[in-house]
Symmetry: C2
Subunit: 150 residues, 2 copies
DNA sequence: GCTGAAATGCTTGGACG
DNA sequence: CGTCCAAGCATTTCAGC
């Protein structure tokens, strides 16, 4: 059996690491770092993007620095097999839900919520609970957070 | 009591949303979107960065598209009061740990791990368990994931 | 796969109303 | 907040090895 994914070499890995550390690094800066010229680095980044390894770029936000911002993690338990689509059917339309993970174990999934206040949070949790196959939730308010690439 | 944080108005919020959707958007593009010129938008972004609302920019990576990549969530239970620094003392030196959340409730914290394989995962979980005040862990392998800004 | 060069456009800083 | 200007870079594309 051969690789089904893309071939990723060490230079690709270094490019990925550099772009994780700073998603706004310029191509020419990266080129210097990895010891190539701009053109091949640009081609590699384009390939990583179009093949879905790099799915996008985003600004990292410290919600605690904003007025009345609240982050929470909601553990979800689901009847029967979990397919992520079921949760996403709700999540995509609720802007407060920023991320969903389907898990092997208990809980079956985790949703992350960024709400303006506790009432917003309650509303979003209720939306998740309303989903027919969600049998239970546990909401955990985030007190502090750290991210490697933040 | 007055606001301790920065004053963030609606335009700031739109800028943040645009940069979350695409962290590489140009200032001039954002200026068009929010109906201002480049100079004030640049000033706002600089202010959001230096005040710590925007903590950085990063590329979003789909680990499943790379060879042998595995993501997991580890729930942590801790003796006594949790201060995040305690966990971070371990996490910062372990590149597989990408994020740590301190929570109000049970579990006391969550760590996210990106490992090459199951042995890497085991090693990292053991590093966390070795911390004197971690009394228990539960490891959940991520089967599928979705992120709004990804 | 790579280098190198040219045209275009963006960014950054400053001065000013 | 806006405009304008100017210098410096980055991006992008197109050649060629």
């Amino acid at each position: 059996m051969t690789h089904h994914g893309l071939m990723i070499d060490d230079i690709d890995r270094r490019i990925i690491r550099l772009l994780r550390e700073d998603g706004r690094r310029t191509v020419s800066d990266i080129a210097i770092e990895v010891g190539l010229t701009v053109a091949p680095v640009k081609r590699r980044i384009d390939r990583l993007e179009s093949s879905g390894v790099i799915t996008g770029y985003t600004a990292q936000i410290d919600m605690t620095k904003m007025d009345s911002a609240l982050e929470a993690v909601v553990e979800l338990r689901v009847a029967g097999n979990l397919d992520l689509e079921m949760i996403l059917a709700v999540a995509e339309d609720v802007p407060e839900i920023t991320e969903v993970l389907a898990l092997a174990g208990d809980p079956d999934a985790i949703a992350r919520i960024q709400a303006e206040n506790i009432h917003d949070l309650q509303r979003v949790v209720n939306l998740l609970r309303t989903n027919g196959r969600v049998t239970g939730t546990k909401t955990l308010v985030v007190l502090d957070s750290w991210s490697r690439y933040g």
